[in-house]
């Protein structure tokens, strides 16, 4: 097993706190997995549910219990013994039971009453979150080949938005992705959607139709992750450059502890040695810097989303307020104009439809004098 070869001290791969409730000491993810697997029976992590009777029979045999004691034990420990209401009167689980002594319920009742007193009954964010949950929880694959193997690692990764706006002190908008241990870092990079990948640089008032061909993502493909002193560069394409070399050399010239480099596409999560809960860096488009925190590492469970193809699996997404078109106030702004005689303000935002109706004739010829830049809204991924 890899675990025995990897470490002389077995404890280094059992994660423990570096700072309590903040982050752990670094540990090797594959060895961590092996530590768990060496402790568990295969049946503990199997997707297949055994038979109830077989379980009881096994237990009785193991403990050396007679059938009489066993049946007694079973009835004592059954779920029915926990029921708090008569069998024929199932209360509505959506309603807080009245006259409860539990403090949690007293508080919940208070909160529900308060919410009922508000005029707004629906919360858009809740709706989105419900929708997302429906798409992710417990999905089974259509083909057996797409099934995640038993004993695989599932990582929960929070990717934070770059700190470019003032509100960042109060809310930490982020997206949460689930990845498996056999994913490479490059797959995580592809899973992260950031608007700076979609930016289009340049003025396109004469040729609005070709603007989408100049997305930054296709032009500047370099990026890197930084985990525990190692820069993992994206080198999948010939035009990728090593953009971390600047930092590495800077550090070298200042007598900093040396940083090493590796390739993103060749590194799997199981190869990493990381701290859980510790902020790391993802940098792309030269200077768009995201914090990346691995919040959880665990073994896969049968209720997880089983379809390999759905990973990286988005489980949380922060919704950002979008800037709307100045004309229709309905669609998200796509164009940004200056020196524009048709516009109510300078600069001004337009959605694609309004922009074309106002600035071009039916044949698509430019009317008047203005400068137009493609605009990508922060909330484009909502």
């Amino acid at each position: 097993m890899a675990a025995s070869g990897q470490s002389t001290d077995p404890n280094t791969n059992i994660p423990d706190y570096e700072y309590i409730d903040v982050n752990t000491k670094p540990f090797h993810i594959a060895s961590f997995r092996n530590e768990w697997l060496s402790r568990l029976k295969p049946s503990d992590i199997s997707y297949q549910q055994e038979d109830e009777d077989a379980f009881d029979a096994n237990f009785a045999k193991e403990m050396g219990l007679g059938p009489e004691i066993m049946s007694q034990l079973k009835s004592v420990c059954s779920v029915d013994s926990l029921r708090c209401h008569p069998e024929d009167q199932q209360p509505d689980p959506e309603v807080v039971p009245p006259n409860s002594t539990l403090k949690t319920l007293v508080e919940r009742k208070k909160r529900q009453d308060y919410k009922a007193s508000l005029k707004i009954t629906k919360n858009r964010h809740d709706l989105y979150a419900d929708e997302l949950e429906r798409l992710t929880v417990g999905r089974k694959p259509s083909a057996v080949a797409d099934m995640i193997p038993e004993g695989e690692i599932i990582l929960t990764i929070n990717v934070y938005y770059p700190a470019t706006y003032e509100k960042f002190c109060y809310v930490r908008p982020h997206m949460t992705l689930l990845m498996t241990g056999s994913h490479t870092l490059a797959e995580l990079r592809d899973g992260i959607c950031c608007v700076s990948d979609l930016q289009v640089c340049g003025e396109f008032s004469n040729t609005p139709d070709i603007a989408p061909d100049f997305i930054s993502k296709d032009h500047y493909k370099s990026s890197f992750f930084f985990f525990e002193g190692v820069f993992y560069n994206d080198m999948r394409f010939p035009e990728c450059r090593d953009i971390s070399i600047t930092t590495v050399e800077w550090a070298k010239s200042r007598n900093f502890p040396p940083y090493s480099q590796a390739k993103m596409e060749e590194t799997r999560f199981t190869d990493l040695k990381v701290k859980v809960g510790f902020p790391y860096l993802y940098c792309h488009q030269g200077d768009c810097e995201h914090l990346v925190i691995i919040t959880d590492v665990r073994l896969v469970h049968k209720n997880d989303c089983m379809d390999k193809n759905l990973y990286p699996l988005l489980t949380h997404k922060h919704r950002i307020v979008t800037q709307k078109c100045a004309v229709c106030h309905l669609f998200i702004g796509r164009w940004f104009t200056t020196n524009d005689q048709f516009a109510p303000s300078d600069p001004c935002l337009f959605c694609d439809k309004c922009f074309r109706m106002l600035h071009y004739d039916a044949a698509g010829n430019k009317l008047g004098d203005f400068l137009a830049y493609p605009y990508v809204d922060r909330g484009a991924f909502n």
Partner: protein, 347 residues
């Protein structure tokens, strides 16, 4: 959310303390307590996504009772609580109980203890949870998001739930004492055989070591028992208690300090208007304990001068009667104004 967590915790503690009073580890007794408190209802009234979030919270809270430093009985209660919560949750598919790798050894040891004591229901329920795949085998007990807390809140553990240390008693048992006395005897014999002359320098070892050791342990045990009746656990040599000692000491220090400041010597007359401020913040034990914003809201300057500039009674009267301005403004004008008012009244 934080408030919710506290409430859930106190509910769980209430259930477990009731369970503790029964002095039992039977699931039957536990389920009685559960029904008595109608604990299943804790899941009722949550909607859709809230459900999942709440299940997560409840299971996380409950799983802390399943692990040390709690006593065996509370841990059994914690296990039953986890099982019952897991079975009663309204979320579908159910949320799992998070179990960290570092806690696995504790769970195994717990299982062994239960097995040795022939507590079949404990082992059955533990196995049943494994059979139901109720666990997530994780790296850490909670999700970590590098949340540094401004206020360091010490996680308060119920002292009554925590097991008393029994290491001294465990270490010094009768077998060990016998062994020790044997060795002692042997050693003495050897010594006398080596040095035939009774030299005082050889008689360095204690003769009454074994009885003394025994009585010390007995004393310690008695002391622990006595302590247990009032507040207990001064003696458990664990990190938490020493921390509490520290904070107790700090409190005592702070008390003395505040007393000293409270009886501040009277300032000389010229400085009497400067009120001595008793520094409230220094009463707190340290920066970690200080609540984030203890801003003392001062009264306005006007209010403070009014309060502090005391001109003693007679002086004030004298001053108010004799000065010209006073005469002009207060004494005559007041009735005059009243007259004016009367004159202006509409009839």
């Amino acid at each position: 959310m934080d408030l919710n967590r506290k409430l859930v915790k106190s509910d769980c503690e209430e259930l477990l303390s009731r369970f503790q009073k029964t002095d039992s580890v039977r699931f039957e007794i536990f389920s009685n307590t559960w029904r008595e408190m109608k604990f299943s209802h804790i899941f009722y009234g949550t909607k859709k996504r809230e459900k999942r979030v709440f299940s997560r919270l409840v299971l996380d809270t409950a799983s802390s009772f399943f692990l040390p430093p709690y006593s065996f009985q509370i841990r059994v209660g914690g296990l039953y609580l986890l099982y019952s919560l897991y079975q009663c949750q309204t979320t579908s598919p159910p949320e799992q109980i998070r179990l960290a790798l570092k806690d696995w050894e504790d769970v195994k040891k717990f299982e062994k203890d239960a097995l040795n004591a022939q507590h079949h229901d404990i082992v059955y329920i533990l196995h049943r949870l494994l059979f139901l795949r109720a666990f997530h085998f994780t790296a850490m007990p909670t999700l970590l998001v590098f949340q540094k807390k401004r206020k360091v809140e010490r996680s308060v553990q119920r002292e009554a739930f925590i097991e008393r240390t029994s290491r001294p008693q465990e270490l010094i048992n009768t077998e060990m004492l016998e062994e020790l006395s044997n060795i002692h005897e042997l050693y003495e014999k050897l010594k006398t055989s080596v040095c035939s002359t009774t030299n005082s320098s050889v008689n360095l070892s204690r003769k009454d070591l074994i009885p003394q050791l025994c009585s010390t342990v007995m004393n310690f045990y008695k002391l622990q028992q006595k302590d247990g009746s009032d507040d207990g656990e001064e003696d458990s040599g664990e990190g938490t208690s020493s921390q509490q000692d520290c904070s107790k000491r700090a409190e005592r220090l702070a008390f003395i300090k505040s007393k000293a400041y409270g009886e501040a010597p009277e300032a000389c007359k010229s400085r009497r208007h400067r009120q001595v401020e008793v520094d409230l913040t220094s009463n707190e034990a340290g920066p970690s304990n200080m609540s984030g914003s203890t801003r003392i809201s001062k009264p306005s300057l006007k209010a403070r001068t009014n309060e502090n500039v005391h001109i003693s009674g007679d002086m004030w009267k004298e001053a108010s009667t004799t000065t010209m301005i006073n005469c002009l403004t207060t004494l005559d004008s007041a009735p005059e104004k009243q007259k004016n008012l009367k004159r202006f009244k509409w009839r």
